[in-house]
């Protein structure tokens, strides 16, 4: 304004002098120049303004573009975020898969270890089996050898048995023949030369005869005993009570004059060889019959009881009995606890009974006292 002021001030002043007019003209010119400059400046400014406006336009456009870009970037960021979350999901899944995988891996490792263990055990087992096989083979060989030995022993045994049979046979046959001669010709002497033989001589000959007969009885008994040991055992169900009654009846029939009371328990059965058990029972009954012969009446029992925790059978009599001190000699072959004068016999009866009972896997024993009878127990 100062410019204007100065302008006004210039215009208002009277035109006094050319100097003043020159000054004014100069000033006018200066002002015109300034105005020109100003106009130029204004143009410039307008140009500048236009440029600025252009720039602003561009800037606006840019701004829009930038907004667009910003939107795009935001979209991209959104997509990116969703991608990121997807990726994170994938990552999760992946991590899960990795977890499962590592679990699977652990399981596989576990399985692998187990398999390795199994293989180890298998190796171990294989070694064991091989060892066992070797042992088995050895066992089999040994068993075969044992079997062969058993067979060989069996063959030897049956050969021995056959030899024994043949032996018994010739013993029985060949020993009896000379005995017959001894007895027969002694008798012939007694009969034909009775007048030439005094009582003593005759007694001698009688002794000879008796001895020969006794030897024959012994041979028979020995043969029976050996047969009992040799022969085959046939097992059957047997009615022992019935057997006892039969034997009792036979004994009574053979000597009807004797008064013997038989008390036989019924319903007693057993499993065994009928012939052998009959022989055993008969022996026991005959013994009781024999050793009660000294008494006018007698009682012979057949029954059962539980002895030594086993079910056993018994034959009991009230006859002469025996001294229990010699009980262990009772079952010996040809062992006797009485003289032949007291009671006849060869002493083979009980040995036979024992052998028969033992062959059946049982036991036999006796209880008794002198003149108080005897009881014979047996199990089967």
């Amino acid at each position: 304004m100062s410019g204007q002021t100065s302008e006004r001030s210039l215009l208002e002043t009277p035109l006094d002098s050319r100097s003043e007019r020159n000054a004014v003209e100069n000033s006018q010119r200066a002002t015109l120049n300034i105005l020109e400059d100003f106009a130029a400046e204004k143009c410039e400014l307008e140009r500048g303004q236009r440029a600025t406006l252009n720039i602003l336009e561009d800037f606006d456009a840019e701004k829009t573009r930038m907004a667009g870009a910003e939107r795009a970037v935001l979209n991209i960021l959104e997509d990116f975020a969703s991608e990121k979350s997807q990726l994170e999901e994938f990552q999760h899944c992946f991590l899960n898969i990795l977890e499962d995988f590592s679990q699977e891996k652990r399981q596989l490792e576990g399985t692998q270890r187990a398999v390795l263990n199994i293989l180890e055990d298998f190796e171990g087992e294989k070694a064991n089996v091989e060892l066992a096989n070797v042992r088995l083979e050895r066992e089999i060989k040994e068993r075969k050898r044992a079997e062969e030995e058993i067979q060989r022993t069996n063959r030897e045994l049956s050969a021995t048995n056959k030899e024994l049979e043949a032996f018994s046979y010739s013993v029985s046959h060949d020993l009896r023949t000379p005995l017959r001669s001894i007895d027969g010709f002694s008798q012939a002497l007694l009969e034909d030369y009775a007048d030439k033989l005094d009582a003593t001589a005759q007694e001698h000959l009688q002794r000879v005869r008796r001895a020969a007969q006794r030897m024959a009885a012994l041979i028979d008994d020995m043969l029976n005993l050996s047969r009992v040991t040799r022969c085959e055992l046939h097992r059957e169900k047997l009615d022992l009570s019935a057997m006892a009654k039969l034997i009792a009846a036979e004994l009574q029939e053979a000597e009807p004059s004797r008064h013997v009371e038989f008390v036989i328990e019924s319903g007693l059965t057993a499993v065994g060889d009928p012939q052998l058990l009959h022989a055993a029972m008969e022996n026991l009954f005959r013994n009781s019959w024999k050793y009660t012969s000294g008494h006018p009446t007698a009682r012979i029992e057949f029954g059962s009881s539980v002895e030594k925790e086993k079910h056993s059978f018994l034959v009991r009599d009230d006859g002469a009995g025996f001294d229990p001190r010699y009980a262990d000699r009772l079952f010996g072959a040809f062992q006797r606890l009485h003289t032949a004068k007291e009671f006849p016999g060869t002493g083979i009866g009980l040995a036979t009974v024992q052998r028969i009972i033992h062959r059946h896997g049982g036991e036999v024993w006796a209880e008794g006292a002198v003149e108080k009878g005897a009881t014979f127990y047996f199990t089967l």
């Binding site: 029985s172 017959r180 001669s181 027969g184 002694s186 012939a188």
Partner: protein, 147 residues
């Protein structure tokens, strides 16, 4: 009883003498022919060897046969005897010491009529012979001769 022969097949001289004695004691006076081994017995029965030419129509009434014989055994004699048409019906009594079941079974199996065990006690022996004589020579009816 006369005219009826008894064939005794026995190798033991003592047994032969005792059997003879026992027969005598029982008044059995039949002719006693003794064969001392199996071969001799067969010779007699079939009229061969030392007995060739024998009149075989006079057959023995009964054969007392021991089992243990030299040369040919008693069972073999029996078997051949039974196999022959002419002699197969002859009564044969096996008279032996043996009581072995096997012998008894085979004896009967081969066709013996009777099996008697020779007792040691001579008195029993006499009794046995008496019963044998009574039965086979008197009571028993001989098979008729074949035509």
């Amino acid at each position: 009883m006369d005219g009826k022969t008894i064939l005794l097949v026995e190798d033991n001289a003592d047994d032969e003498a005792l059997t003879f004695r026992a027969l005598m004691k029982n008044n059995i006076s039949n002719q006693l022919v003794v064969a001392r081994d199996g071969a001799e017995a067969l010779d007699y029965l079939f009229a061969t060897g030392q007995y060739s030419g024998r009149d075989t129509s006079i057959g023995p009434q009964v054969v007392l046969l021991d089992l243990n014989l030299p040369k040919v055994s008693g069972l073999e004699v029996l078997r051949q005897l039974r196999a022959n048409e002419r002699t197969k019906l002859l009564p044969v009594v096996i008279l032996t010491s043996s009581t072995e079941e096997q012998d008894r079974l085979q004896g009967y199996d081969y066709g013996a009529n009777s099996y008697v065990r020779k007792p040691v006690d001579f008195n029993h022996f006499i009794e046995a012979v008496r019963q044998l004589g009574l039965y086979w020579l008197i009571l028993n009816e001989q098979p008729p001769a074949r035509r």
